[in-house]
C-alpha cells in the first residue's frame, strides 16, 4: 500500500495542516507518495515542509518516499531556482522532469533552501544573506538600514534553535514576494523547519511540571515564545525568540511557530490568524515562519 499525500495547490503556512493531515500518525506505516503535480505555488515554508517530511521519514527508517514534481513548468523552475530539487533528490525518489537550477543573480530568493546541521552552517547562512537582505529590506520594503542587521540576527537565532534544540538537522529558506491576498504589499519571509523532537519534548523535563495537565504542544510553544523559557538552566538562554518578537513588533511583522499538533502566532494588525491553534494534525519537529512586510509608504 502507498499513502498518497497531495500537496495543496497553494502551499503555505495556512494550507500546511491539510498537508500534515495526509500523513496521519507519525511515522506512517505505508510507503508515502507526495503528489505535487497540481501545485501552483509554494512558499518557502511549504518547500522546506516537504523536505522535513522526507527527512523525518528517512530518520524513521521508512522506505524512501516518492515525490511527483509539479506539472507547471513555471512552478518547477521556481522550485529549482530555490534549490529545492537539489535536496529533494536525496530524500525522495523524484518522478517527473526536473529542470536545472536557473541562472544566479539578483532574485526574490534571498536564501536558497539551505540545510542547517551545525553552527558552522549558521555562519554560512548569515554571511550569504547579508548583501541580498539589504537590497530587499531597505531598497524594496523601505525598512531602515539597521533593519538588515536585526533581520540577520533573527535569522541566526532561528537557525540556531535547530542546532541547539532539535536533536537533528533542519532547513532554512528566505524569499521576498508580494502578499496579495492578506496584505497587498511586498514581504520578506524566513522559513525554518526541522524534523527534530519539537518544543514539547525539548522543554518537557524542565518545564512540564509547572503546567500540570495543561502541558502539551501549545503550552510548550507558549512557554518558549511568550515566556522565553529554554530547556537549558543557563539564565542567558531563551532570549532569541524574545528579541525576534520585539523587533517584529516595531515593523508589524509576524512570527508563527508550529510544533507537533499546535501553532502559536504573534499576530500583527494586518493579519487575521488565530494566535493559538491546537489539536492540529501532527507533524514532526518545529516549523517557524517570520514575515516582515514592506513599511506603509505613508510612514516612510
Amino acid at each position: 500500500m502507498t499513502k498518497v499525500i497531495e500537496v495543496p495547490t497553494h502551499f503555505d503556512d495556512r494550507s500546511f495542516d491539510a498537508f500534515a493531515a495526509g500523513f496521519g500518525e507519525w511515522p506512517p506505516a505505508e510507503k508515502v507518495l507526495i503528489d505535487a503535480r497540481g501545485t501552483q505555488w509554494a512558499s518557502p515554508y511549504g518547500l522546506i515542509g516537504i523536505l522535513t517530511a522526507g527527512q523525518a521519514l528517512a530518520e524513521a527508517k521508512r522506505e524512501k518516499p516518492l515525490l511527483t514534481v509539479p506539472t507547471s513548468d513555471e512552478v518547477k523552475r521556481y522550485w529549482a531556482r530555490a534549490g529545492f530539487f537539489r535536496h529533494a533528490a536525496e530524500l525522495f525518489e523524484l518522478h517527473g522532469k526536473v529542470p536545472r537550477s536557473g541562472p544566479t543573480g539578483p532574485s526574490d530568493v534571498l536564501l536558497d533552501v539551505t540545510p542547517v546541521r551545525a553552527s558552522e552552517d549558521v555562519h554560512g547562512v548569515v554571511h550569504k544573506i547579508s548583501e541580498g537582505a539589504s537590497r530587499i529590506l531597505h531598497g524594496e520594503l523601505g525598512l531602515e538600514m539597521k533593519a538588515t542587521l536585526r533581520f540577520s540576527m533573527a535569522l541566526s537565532e532561528a537557525c540556531q534553535n535547530i542546532v541547539e534544540h532539535a536533536g537533528t538537522s533542519g532547513w532554512v529558506a528566505v524569499q521576498a514576494y508580494t502578499f496579495r491576498r492578506r496584505l497587498g504589499r511586498r514581504v520578506v519571509v524566513i522559513a525554518v523547519s526541522d524534523a527534530g523532537v519539537g518544543f514539547r519534548r525539548s522543554l518537557e523535563s524542565t518545564h512540564a511540571k509547572r503546567f500540570g495537565e495543561r502541558w502539551g504542544d501549545g503550552a510548550a510553544l507558549e512557554a518558549a515564545l511568550i515566556q522565553g523559557v529554554s530547556r537549558f538552566r543557563d539564565p542567558g538562554r531563551g532570549q532569541g525568540l524574545a528579541f525576534i518578537k520585539r523587533f517584529l513588533d516595531q515593523w508589524e511583522g509576524k512570527i508563527s511557530i508550529r510544533s507537533g499538533t499546535a501553532r502559536l502566532s504573534i499576530v500583527p494588525p494586518w493579519d487575521e490568524d488565530i494566535p493559538l491553534s491546537d489539536h492540529l494534525p501532527s507533524f514532526p519537529g518545529a516549523q517557524v515562519q517570520i514575515i516582515i512586510p514592506a513599511q506603509d509608504p505613508k510612514s516612510r
Binding site: 553552527s119 555562519h123 548569515v126 540577520s152 540576527m153 541566526s156 539564565p235 542567558g236 532570549q239 532569541g240
Partner: protein, 172 residues
Amino acid sequence: MGHVLREAVAAPYRDLVTRPTGAAVRTRIEAALADSNCLTALLDFSEIELVDLSCADEVVAKLLLTGGTAYFVVLQGLREDHREAIDHVLTHHGLAISAVPPGCRAPRLLGWVRADAREAFACISESGPLDVTGLARALGWPESRSREALGDLTLHRLVRPVGEFYYPLQTT
C-alpha cells in the same frame, strides 16, 4: 575581536554568531587576559559585522559573570545594532559594561544598573576620579546616596577604586 574571531572559527567570517563561536572567542579572551598584567581589557568590535544575542551572551555576559577575575572590561567600536544586542543580554542578566562610542572619549553604560549608579558613572566619566564626598557634592546628593551608587559601580566593575577615590576605567 575580528582577529580573535578569525582564529576561533578558522574562517574569514566577520560575524559573531552562535554560542559555540561565542564560547570559543571568550575562551581565547580569558586565556589572553590570564597571560596579561593589564588591569583593563579593551575589546574592539570595529572589525565585526554582526553580533547576535547568543554570541553577545557567550562573549560579553559570560565574561562579566566569570567570578574571581581581577580585570575590568571596556568595549569599543560598537555599532548601534551591536550595542542593542549587548544591552539586551546584559539587562537580562542584571549586568552592565562600559562602552566607548565611536569618536568619543567618554564611555557609556550598556546593560542594567540602578539609576543612581548610572548618574554617578556619567559624572565620574566626565569629571575624572572622585571620592564619596566629591561625588555627593557634584550631584547634590547626601553622602550615603553617593556611597551606595559608588558601591554599585564597584560591584559591577565599572569604576576602579583606589584608596578613597573611584577612577573611570581606562579607554585608551
